[in-house]
Amino acid sequence: MRYLDEYRDPVLARRLIGRIRAAATRPWSIMEVCGGQTHTIVRQGIDELLPVRMIHGPGCPVCVTPLETIDRALAIAARSEVIFTSFGDMLRVPGSTTDLLSAKARGADVRVVYSPLDAVRLAVANPGRQVVFFAVGFETTAPANAMSVLKAAAQHVPNYSILVSHVLVPPAMVAIMESASVDAFLAAGHVCAVMGWREYEPLAARYRVPIVVTGFEPLDLLEGILMAVCQLEEGRHTVENQYARAVRRTGNLPAQAAVRRVFRVSDQVWRGIGPIPASGLVLAPEFAAYDAGLRFGVAGTGAREHPGCIAGQILRGTKTPPECPAYRSLCTPRRPLGAPMVSAEGTCAAFYNAGRPAGQERS
């Protein structure tokens, strides 16, 4: 397919790997922020062929949605008047006691939608029910979720609301820069397609780290890694854009305007990591009527993580899944103990699906 196959060419990939091997004089630590990139890197075994250390970042929205929020989703979905809608990958994320898929099996009306606009349509078609959409994700899904609220407001759809758990990438990168030793970052191309990369320029300067806006195909990732290695070898630390075909410096201005209209920046708890200041989005006061949390008055109580799960260290990049005692034994994609094993974008699931064995520590 156009704009996919060309960037998967194995011959060019080998040449890029050769280039990286020739350029790197040290085993630099490079973090890919986005779970989609983690998936490609681990599945293709790119990390095992390179002289640098790839660190897998927190970029999986499924993984960082707080346990309390999953519990609130479950409480709302359990109500008889509610049709609870969500992207498919949220259904198996474990809450304190159960998950949405099990709730559905027990009779809750939980439905998977492809786009939040499908949820608005469902609300129009079912005026006697309450349709709630689980609005999770990074900057990439925020414009879509914002548009669903704008459409519901414009069409006067009173029975639509969203349960919001939105996270922002740059504050999480700052948190990682403060705590972990990462030499360079591959910034998530599609987050930047929406937001641009101006936010990263002061970060690259202040923390003296190269940041390369990178796409998702194998050649994109290899070129992004090569660009990061070249900056490190030359002692530079600027923002560069590998993914020029899809990302402009200012990002997508109409999408940013919609997000600014519907949401406000707030502090946010990241599952496995903890609270990060100004790292999330909540509905703006003028759209509070669409806030499912307020509409149904749900509060998470006594949320509890599985004690054996080390997801916090996985998401910070300080441990890899094979170092988790539960990996592949107690915890598998069929019976996930923690969120990183659920979504294909989660680091633990990426390792599992690539057949990486347990109990191995990568140097």
Binding site: L12, R15, A22, S115, A244, A246, A255, E345
Partner: protein, 77 residues
């Protein structure tokens, strides 16, 4: 949900449209790419086009990659 894929716009009707993903056609919201026309490639995320693919830049990236010499540093897997 974070997967964004390129699709070719086959139809545009104000802020909605249809995109072709290698034979599979799907409705997409085009509100955020006001300049996109049928025939253009867009990156689609959860039913929304979030970016217009710049074909000139795409060509340039591939040229750079194809210009990397092979030969001695070829690595076998």
């Amino acid at each position: 949900m974070c997967l964004g894929v390129p699709g070719r716009i086959v139809l545009r009707d104000r802020d909605m449209g249809v995109a072709d993903f290698d034979g599979l056609r799907r409705e997409v919201c085009l509100s955020y790419v006001p300049e996109a026309r049928p025939g253009d490639y867009v990156i689609v995320h959860v039913g929304f086009a979030i970016s217009l693919v710049d074909e000139e830049e795409a060509r340039r990236t591939l040229e750079v990659l194809r210009a990397i010499p092979g030969g001695l540093d070829e690595v076998s897997r």
